[in-house]
């Protein structure tokens, strides 16, 4: 197997970063990205891209921490380089505030973000309805810039990208040796994963360049995330809802909730409403599998189900998936050399 042919299905942050990791880990392989959507029409493009982890109930904490740490370190280096603006990566400081005491005083990621500390009394005065708060500095990946930058890096390695709707992974077995499934919400249909469910999120992207600080309510429902050109105001967490249509009442509600935390948002302009379905699961599926049909085997690596935390752990899960691809390649090379005997 001189040059294993690898198909990565999905071109959101998970698909593109996984493809990139594969080109780094398995440089002799030939990688192709297939997706029915590319930026700016992926779920990732709706997300604010804030590095604040989402907790997966069934993934061991040390593994989540490792994924987050790898992602943070990787993006931290980019944010500090000349490429930062093109990649859309920037530091942002702000507050996570709570009306009632948070479950944990020190979340597992508090030593990975920068300068994590409790908010002072004076700082909390800005939020009269909230009694506790955490101040820290983290990173934000703006989309589309980040996805476009990943696409550019991929093209530079010779990776091909095609718009194509894959209805069945077996479609790919003749052209490709290994398939990497980064289809996010699409995995529900594509591989019949009933453990995967949508959590609908509606957000507003507004022009309010005087907002430099992020504000997040610890309940995860209300947040203000300043990006390069727009501020993302959120949001909703509607479990089981598949609707991609913006809801006007929800827009009003999000705007009101955000203005109550940051009154200057009343002056925000150019309000754009977007909806995304967080591909949610009790644990992220980063796993190898060999599909079998009529004597033919198809190695598959899954990397989906990141829910609300895709950006926060993308690089960590991409690297893990790339290692699984490496394992698949070894197995294939082992069996092909056995076949030569």
């Amino acid at each position: 197997m001189a040059s294993p042919k690898i198909a990565v299905v999905g071109a959101g942050v998970i698909g593109l970063s996984t493809a990139l990791c594969i080109t780094e880990t398995c440089p002799s392989s030939s990688v192709t990205v297939l997706s029915d959507q590319f930026s700016p029409n992926t779920t990732s493009d709706v997300a604010a891209g804030m590095l604040i982890p989402h907790i997966y109930p069934d993934t061991p904490i040390h593994r989540q921490k490792q994924w987050f740490r790898e992602t943070f370190t990787y993006l931290f280096a980019i944010s500090n380089s000349a490429q930062a603006s093109e990649a859309g990566i920037h530091l942002v400081s702000g507050w996570q505030i709570f009306k009632s005491p948070p479950k944990e005083e020190l979340p597992f990621w508090s030593d990975i973000v920068l300068g994590f500390r409790p908010m002072s009394e004076v700082e909390l005065q800005k939020f009269p309805q909230h009694r506790f708060g955490q101040a820290f500095t983290t990173l934000k990946c703006d989309c589309p810039p980040y996805l476009l930058w990943l696409e550019k890096r991929l093209k530079a390695t010779g990776t091909q990208m095609y718009t194509r709707k894959v209805a069945d992974l077996w479609e790919l077995h003749r052209e490709y040796d290994i398939v990497v499934n980064c289809t996010g919400m699409g995995a529900h249909q594509l591989v019949g994963d009933k453990q995967l469910f949508p959590v609908r999120g509606q957000v507003l992207k507004v022009h309010a360049p005087w907002v430099t600080q992020f504000i997040r309510d610890g309940d995860g429902l209300t947040y203000i995330y300043p990006g390069i050109h727009r501020v993302t105001l959120g949001g909703t967490r509607e479990k089981g809802s598949w609707s991609l249509s913006p809801d006007a009442g929800t827009t009003r509600d999000i705007f009101d909730r955000c203005c109550s935390l940051e009154p200057s948002l009343q002056g925000a302009q150019d309000i754009e409403v977007k909806v995304g379905l967080r591909p949610s699961r009790q644990c992220v599926r980063v796993q190898r599998e060999v599909l079998s049909q009529g004597g033919v085997k198809l190695p598959v690596v899954h990397n989906y189900g990141h829910g609300a935390g895709g950006f926060s752990v993308h690089r960590g899960t991409a690297k893990e998936a790339a290692h699984l691809v490496e394992e698949c390649i070894s197995v294939l090379q082992g069996s092909s050399s056995r076949a030569k005997l």
Partner: protein, 348 residues
């Protein structure tokens, strides 16, 4: 009672507003006038980035520290008002960086969340060994001065576009009290060898991914002679020039290169930033702010001047505390002239 304010920068306009707000209702005969040769957007205040931050050392000047605090507290109180956006007022966090351990600044308990930088944060800034992180305020002159002007105009204050040549000129026209807020050119009205220009130059760029201010310090070479990056609502200001005694308001190619190279070294991503403007201005520097009354004899009349100038590179930072102090001095003058039964602060 005619009161003339000379100067329409942040000091002149805010002093006028303070006096107007506190005394107009008590003194119906009060007529406020603002005279200036430059109005927004051509004042020194318009060139300033607008970051609230005093110098790192207060040289033991406690009065100025109190005025700084008064200004910060006042602005913080305005933050949630509907006027905040129009005023150009918003919160901003950022970094102060040093190559050697700095003494704690006088303002560490005035700003929000002041703390030392962690080792990981210092990794962002190679060459700097110590630093602070805090949340402060931006008050952009380009918005604040028009906002002040609108407030004053609504309240009947008159504006005159002219260069006042002397205090006498105004007194001979019937002005009773003059507020001298003429900043750098106060020396033209009354010689003051202590007032010297602290020339600055800045480059304006589009770098909307920068969400923090970064001010570096070289404690040996003096304030603002080390690169700084201050993001605003429309553009980001790059600076790091402070030339004592230099009166030139021309942009210098040498200073441009120094600012550009040092800021790009500090923040490599700036190399991709688009330059949209450049400006030079003169900080009206003085060992301390001159904020005091002066009585001038003109024939058998006693004319009053309230001086409020010499705010160096911290005019925005200190302006409100000084405006309130100037208003108090005005109140005293009124009392002496028996225009007021009681000063506005005390109610019977």
């Amino acid at each position: 009672m005619r009161v003339a304010v000379i100067g329409a920068g942040v000091i002149g306009l805010s002093s006028a507003l303070c006096i107007q707000e506190q005394f107009q209702s008590l003194l119906p005969s009060l007529e406020l006038e603002v005279y200036a040769d430059h109005f927004t957007p051509h004042t020194t205040s318009d060139g300033a980035a607008g970051l609230w931050q005093p110098y790192v050392s207060d040289h033991g000047n406690l009065q100025e520290t109190l005025w700084n605090k008064e200004t910060f507290d006042y602005l913080l109180g305005q933050l949630h008002s509907p006027a905040a956006k129009e005023m150009g007022l918003f919160l901003i966090s950022g970094y102060n960086l040093f190559r050697e351990p700095p003494p704690d600044p006088s303002w560490k308990n005035i700003v929000l969340g002041f703390r030392n930088l962690t080792p990981k944060e210092l990794e962002l800034f190679p060459g700097y060994s110590h630093g602070w992180f805090n949340t402060a305020l931006m008050l952009e002159g380009r918005s604040y001065l028009p906002w002040l002007t609108n407030r004053l105009t609504q309240r009947g204050v008159k504006f005159f576009h002219k260069k006042v040549e002397s205090f006498q000129e105004l007194f001979s026209q019937g002005v009773d009290v003059v507020l001298n807020c003429s900043g750098m050119r106060s020396g033209d009205l009354q010689p003051d060898p202590e007032l010297q220009p602290g020339r600055g130059q800045i480059i304006r760029v589009l770098a909307p991914w920068v969400k923090h201010f970064i001010v570096t310090h070289d404690l040996k070479s003096g304030i603002y002679n080390s690169p700084y990056v201050i993001p605003g609502s429309e553009f980001t200001v790059l600076g790091g020039i402070y030339q004592h005694g230099n009166w030139s308001e021309e942009n210098s190619a040498k200073d441009h290169k120094s600012i550009w190279d040092s800021c790009c070294q500090l923040l490599p991503a700036l190399q991709k930033a688009k330059i949209v403007g450049e400006w030079s201005g003169l900080r009206p520097a003085r060992p301390s702010v001159r904020l005091e009354r002066e009585s001038i004899r003109l024939g058998n009349l006693q004319a009053e001047v309230i001086h409020n100038y010499g705010h160096g590179g911290f005019g925005v930072t200190i302006h409100w505390g000084c405006a309130m102090a100037a208003a108090r001095l005005f109140g005293t003058i009124l009392q002496e002239k028996q225009q007021l039964a009681t000063p506005p602060g005390s109610r019977l």
